[in-house]
């Protein structure tokens, strides 16, 4: 069969590319077709205008976009349109059941819950239907299991490294990568008719995009969203920047807790347009803001962990964490960024009562050549703490001190000694294989703060 040139014969039903042309054409079109349900209409409208035509729709089904848009904003008391597919369609989605099998999720977890995990708050703001409550639970669980693993296995890690390692294991970037590795695709645009096996999200609009009237750029609008609200605000930076305040006030990555983007205030002197507000007030309630694919993917993975906990037990989510997160490769020694390693090392030796560190050349070559190499070790008495090679004596000495510090910080007790708290407490008890709790050594962490 020849390929259907959908774009050719659908051009009439699509809105013109330039939104201003569409504006001009509106007042002259008087044809308003009475159509049964407004909800279906709005769906079709979104369907057509955002995505082009899907293959199932035939030419007769398609209503010209102009007519629809005239009908769509009807009575003011009408219920806002949903943009997420119904949970009733979940058992019929091939993508969902394939995902369920691919992740070997417990059979107690129904497909409907998996479908709900894929619904971001940006498409359905009702907390009973989106994944936000699951994601909150899942984030806490994943953060808890990761932090106990890190602290019990590497008891001397300093706080900034723990934050960075947490981010590397369960940060939003990693979880977004996991979503891709699991083969979960995102919707091109949200709607009720899309497959429930896709990640449902409304993307944040780029600042250069035009608003609905097509006359202003979004970045000039009062509701323009600030991207990356993880960044620390300047005033907060001045008030508190210590590690202690990050432990107490901030999230598990040492970042500021991200406030809901709805609260973000417009910049000073932003023009406030009343016309736009009055038109879109109903839409704003359902979908206040868009989100990024990374944030939505991360909340999907977190929500899945939360859902596994709710439908199974703590051991199920612990196994999930071990299989999918702790199995990832993270070389911890690459996370360190020392500024004054020699100073830190001498403070460490002072604290632990070792002899003060002394750097000595172990070997050298080509001192007078263009590419000299010195191998320097730092010794405390007769014990060699670390060794490093560099093209100058100073570089080699600093590298040696950094190596010594890394080996101190990355100390790990023998495997038989490590008992994480979740091995002992909680739901694992009922399986009968209870580990005996041993008090774990946790060092004071950083040498110089």
């Amino acid at each position: 069969m020849k390929r259907l040139r959908l774009d050719r014969w659908a051009t009439q039903s699509q809105p013109p590319r330039n939104p201003r042309l569409q504006l001009r054409s509106r007042p002259f079109s008087h044809t308003v077709r009475p159509i049964a349900s407004t909800r279906d209409l709005q769906q079709t409208c979104q369907h057509i205008s955002r995505r082009g035509l899907a293959t199932e729709t035939t030419a007769s089904d398609v209503t010209p976009a102009e007519d629809i848009e005239l009908v769509a904003p009807i009575e003011s008391g009408q219920k806002p349109t949903l943009k997420a597919p119904s949970h009733r369609r979940a058992p019929h989605s091939a993508k969902l059941s394939a995902l369920h099998a691919r992740l070997s999720l417990p059979s107690t977890m129904p497909l409907q819950t998996l479908a709900r995990c894929l619904i971001d708050p940006s498409v359905d703001s009702r907390p009973g239907y989106n994944n936000a409550p699951f994601a909150t639970l899942g984030q806490d669980l994943l953060g808890y299991y990761t932090s106990e693993h890190l602290i019990c296995n590497y008891p001397r890690l300093p706080m900034p490294i723990i934050f960075a390692a947490q981010y590397a294991y369960v940060g939003s970037q990693t979880l977004a990568a996991m979503r891709k590795e699991w083969g979960v695709e995102t919707v091109a645009a949200p709607g009720q008719e899309v497959d429930p096996g896709l990640l449902q999200l409304e993307r944040v609009k780029p600042g250069k995009a035009l608003d609905e009237s097509g006359t202003m750029q979004l970045k000039d609008m009062p509701m323009a969203k600030r991207l990356g609200n993880k960044a620390r605000r300047r005033e907060e930076l001045n008030e508190r920047r210590g590690v202690g305040s990050r432990i107490v006030y901030d999230d598990e990555f040492g970042d500021l807790r991200s406030e809901p983007a709805v609260d973000t205030e417009p910049f000073a002197g932003a023009p406030i347009s009343t016309a736009g507000e009055s038109q879109d007030s109903s839409e704003d309630i359902t979908t206040p803001v868009g989100t990024t694919v990374e944030a939505a993917s991360a909340s999907f993975v977190r929500a899945l962990a939360g859902a596994i906990y709710l439908h199974g037990d703590a051991s199920a989510v612990k196994a999930f964490h071990k299989d999918h997160i702790l199995s990832r490769h993270l070389p911890l020694h690459t996370l360190f960024n020392f500024t004054h390693p020699t100073r830190d090392l001498s403070r460490l030796c002072l604290r632990e009562g070792f002899e003060p560190p002394v750097a000595r050349i172990i070997s050298e070559t080509g001192r007078l050549s263009r590419t000299p190499v010195f191998v320097v070790g730092v010794f405390s008495g007769n014990d060699k703490l670390g060794e490093g090679a560099g093209s100058s004596l100073n570089e080699a000495r600093i590298r040696a001190a950094a190596a010594a510090l890394r080996s101190w910080y990355l100390y790990s007790p023998p495997d038989t000694q490590i008992v994480v708290p979740s091995d002992v407490e909680g739901a694992v008890l009922k399986q009968g294989k209870v580990k005996q709790w041993k008090p774990q050594m946790v060092d004071m962490g950083e040498i110089v703060t």
Binding site: R102, P160, E181, H329, V448
Partner: protein
């Protein structure tokens, strides 16, 4: 100033913990009329249900492609697609091709020159001229 840390992303190691099959979807295209689809049509009626049951993690879709040869198209996690034309094949041969697509990882076929690849540094270390026995001419 406290110790600085660098943010990275932990690398995936598929199969070390959970194993995710890299084939995520196989499309079966057939033609009702053409003779080259005879085996494919038999496969769809007799064998496809069992194939899908044995591979629950792979999404199987069936769609007509009238007037063309039957094709298997597989989509992979890395975003690539592999397709095999199965014209005039028997259901058994088609099943073999479907298994081939299912077991592939989506990468281009290339010769592996080194049998072992690792994310870790060598345990033995890099050879250094400054260590070990001294060597003299």
């Amino acid at each position: 100033m406290p110790l600085q840390a660098l943010r990275t992303v932990a690398k995936p190691q598929n199969g070390l913990g959970a194993f995710i099959l890299q084939c995520k979807r196989i499309d079966f295209h057939y033609c009702d009329w053409a003779g080259s689809s005879k085996g494919m049509n038999q496969f769809l009626t007799n064998n496809l249900a069992a194939f899908a049951r044995n591979n629950p993690g792979v999404e199987c879709t069936v769609s007509p492609r009238p007037g063309r040869h039957p094709v298997l198209k597989a989509q992979y996690m890395n975003g690539r697609e592999k397709s095999i034309c199965v014209r005039n094949m028997t259901p058994k041969e088609i099943l073999e091709k479907a298994d081939l697509l299912r077991n592939a990882n989506g990468e281009k076929l290339r010769r592996t020159r080194k049998p072992v690849t690792s994310v870790n540094d060598s345990v033995r270390g890099v050879w250094s001229p400054f260590h070990g026995a001294e060597w003299k001419v």
